[in-house]
């Protein structure tokens, strides 16, 4: 077809609009691709604003004229790798700058600071026994301070003198504690606020008990003891606590560990409920979005087109973004995450379901109708048996995906592991972060395995 086209016309066409010459010669696909490619390259360079890079669209333009002329003259194309290479070169160089890739910023020391605690995930801790005792102290001194001594279960504690002002020093003496054990001493204000009274009030005061279980130490009233008091001149009862710990053998869940497990439960639950809600809504919608059911007349076809469009738009919005809307409506928490996941899943499932419906074999429907079955019976015996197994497989597949997504809707307040992860990162608790990472890996791998097994059996 190309031999009766004029090389001059083709060249001029391609010079005016890249690709037009190729279209003129009859290579429509090539022409459109060249046009799009040139536009994208030019747009990219224009946006980046460095005039140096205009050589790329210029090069593509020149190549395109060459290609058109040579196609018209000899029916031979010119190598496409020239413009592709130029465009890639520009894309990568510009992209490198725009993304701000800077491997020298990848600070290894900081990485180690983050990674080292991650090797010790905060899941469990040693089970330990606590031995505690407290004694009241009046701060500041009133006219007749009560005695600062207390006895309890074979232990006795006293502070001398019975009362003191802020920053004043006192002597603490406790009898009947475990012998030769490190003992933490903590000050508690009347509202129960703990204060550290070690070095600079920034560290725990730790004293070792002697061989007969006696703890003796000098303590001072913390400078912040009266900060929260309504009237700092009014004498009030403060308390001095001593704690001893010793391993009991065995391990128990740490606080973070229990939070992580709770988060994992919420995450799996979110995925489960979201998938269930999505199935209920996606089934009727999928029938409306199935071409073979809705293609019959203009009204149903219009419904079909509208449905498909809504589903496509909804499907391209990540559940994370949808979650933002639901957080505004129902507040922070897993429910917002459930709704967001459900919304996205409805769109995804309805599309898959409708494709199943479009793909069913019409033969059995005809056969069942021919036996004199009514409409409902036909659906029950010819349609449902065909769609149930693929529907189930897709649903389980979706649940699997939702477990993954449930970890990230938490980032915007959707609850579960994601929410916990963001909080832990914020307070720089890398041991906790590590526990979350391990849990996610276990859950996702297990889900992967289970869902693959079930789907294998269904198909």
């Amino acid at each position: 077809m190309s031999q009766n086209r004029s090389p001059l016309v083709a060249g001029v066409f391609s010079l005016l609009v890249p690709g037009l010459g190729q279209i003129y010669i009859g290579q429509r696909y090539r022409g459109v691709a060249i046009l799009l490619g040139t536009l994208v390259a030019a747009g990219m360079v224009f946006w980046y604003g460095d005039p140096l890079w205009y050589f790329v669209p210029a090069l593509i333009g020149l190549w395109n004229v060459w290609d058109a002329v040579s196609l018209a003259r000899a029916g031979q194309t010119r190598p496409i790798w020239i413009p592709v290479l130029a465009a890639l070169l520009a894309a990568y160089t510009i992209g490198w700058q725009v993304v701000g890739i800077d491997f020298s910023a990848a600070d290894a020391d900081r990485a180690m600071q983050i990674l080292r605690p991650m090797l010790r995930p905060d899941f469990v801790q040693e089970r330990r026994e606590v031995n505690s005792m407290w004694v009241p102290v009046q701060v500041p001194c009133g006219p007749q301070p009560p005695q600062a001594r207390r006895e309890d279960g074979g232990k006795s504690a006293l502070v001398m003198p019975d009362c003191a002002g802020v920053n004043e020093t006192m002597i603490l003496n406790v009898n009947g504690m475990w012998p030769d054990t490190d003992t933490n001493v903590v000050w508690r204000t009347p509202i129960g606020d703990p204060k550290m009274i070690g070095e600079n009030e920034a560290e725990m005061l730790v004293v070792r008990s002697d061989a007969s279980g006696v703890v003796t130490t000098a303590i001072h009233v913390p400078s912040t003891a009266l900060v929260a008091a309504p009237d700092p001149t009014l004498p009030q009862e403060h308390r001095v606590y001593v704690y001893q710990y010793r391993p009991k053998g065995g391990i128990e869940l740490s606080y973070i560990g229990s939070e992580v497990l709770n988060g994992a439960l919420i995450t799996i639950g979110m995925a489960l409920i979201a998938t269930m809600l999505a199935v209920f809504l996606a089934i009727p919608i999928s029938f409306l979005a199935a071409h073979n059911l809705m293609g019959g007349n203009p009204v149903t076809y219009a419904i079909y087109v509208v449905m498909r469009t809504i589903l496509n738009v909804l499907r391209s919005i990540e559940s994370l973004i949808i979650a933002i809307i639901f957080v505004v409506i129902v507040g922070l928490g897993p429910f917002a995450g459930v709704l967001a996941l459900a919304m996205h899943s409805i769109a995804a499932l309805a599309k898959l379901y409708s494709e199943v419906i479009e793909g069913i074999d019409p033969g059995p429907i005809e056969a069942i109708r021919a036996t004199g079955a009514n409409w409902l019976q036909t659906v029950r015996y010819a349609v449902i048996p065909q769609i149930i197994p693929p529907f189930t497989a897709f649903t389980i597949y979706r649940w699997d995906i939702n477990v993954r997504s449930a970890t990230i809707v938490g980032f915007v307040g959707g609850g579960g592991l994601g929410f916990l992860l963001i909080e832990l990162i914020r307070v720089n608790n890398m041991q906790g972060v590590s526990a979350v990472f391990i849990t996610i890996a276990i859950i996702v791998t297990a889900m992967d395995y289970i869902s693959a097994k079930i789907r294998e059996r269904l198909v």
């Binding site: 993304v99 409920i273 391209s316 429910f335 995450g337 963001i422």
Partner: protein, 380 residues
Amino acid sequence: MENRLSTGKIIRNTLLAALIILALGISWNVTGVDFPRLIRDLPKGRNIVLAFLTPDLTTRETTTTTVSLAFPIPCGSAPEGEVLTSGPRLVPSVTCAEPKTKFTLEGFDLAPNSEIVIRWKLPDERIMTAIRVQSDEKGYFTANMEARPIAATANNISSRLEVDALTPVGGLKPSEAVQDVLAAMFVTIFMALLSTTLATIVAAPLSFLAASNITKRGPLGTLVYYFTRSIFNLLRSYDPLVMATVFGFWLSFGAFPGFLALSVVTVASLGKLFSEAVEGIDPGPLEALQATGANRLQMVIYGVVPQIVPDFISFIIYHWDINVRISTIIGFVGGGGIGYYLSERINGFEYSKAGTAIWAIVLVVMAMDFLSAEVRKRLS
């Protein structure tokens, strides 16, 4: 069929059903499902959804004329402004006020039919927008104001009432949001492109280590095979956003940590797909090459590579598509690009601008979906 159901099967099915119901019940509880609340509070979502549906796309070019008037709060703290009697002017019902008193402000002979922005210019030059009204055809407006305590006189300098009349001239032009979104979108697409590329470069050689037909020979090979496999599987189980939280924490916010997080997960994901493609190759041509006396490397280049290239390209394009999708949201947790822009706008309650970003995401994701499907269709 029923007579074929053994008692064991019935018990198993009943247990399974009970288990599912139990799981749903527990999930329902821990997730705090509360539909009455959803229905009751649905109106709360109206504004945000409406704003998303009416994205900030265009602005009109305007000329701004400003008039201002000194307004001491409280009275006597500074000289009062002089109220003009002609020309564009502001006329408050009182020329000074105690904090929290209400007054009306009138404007005369301003630009007709224009948007009027009334604001306080505080003594320290900060601007506080109070209210927006519309002027009538004579250039007149009236507005109810309150002498806000924050606008009190400081250092003997009083706050000023400033009024901008924005008169539209000329046509529509893309709004600032559109330009910002466009720029952020470029970053996003490049982030996806570069991370997919880096991931390909790393994953392609690694995938051979994770292919049983290539590597699983001898104890060392078997070890390498299982090790690579496990790493792929482990990394693959993290959503790129989860990965990005740590990378963002390490490298501070920006497109670079987002790019790295995306790359790491893509390496694992592509590595697995690639290795499966390598495992699926036809051994026939390899045997033939071996028969000609080719060495291992030659066998890979002439026997393996030609068989896997189409699969590889298809996987790469598929992943670029996925990565564009993910990089639109990776900014929420420390990656840059459109996700960061979006989360910033949402945190600032600028929902119309957020709407612009969301529509841009929808368009780009749908376009990528279509393009990648088309290209892969052509390849297969």
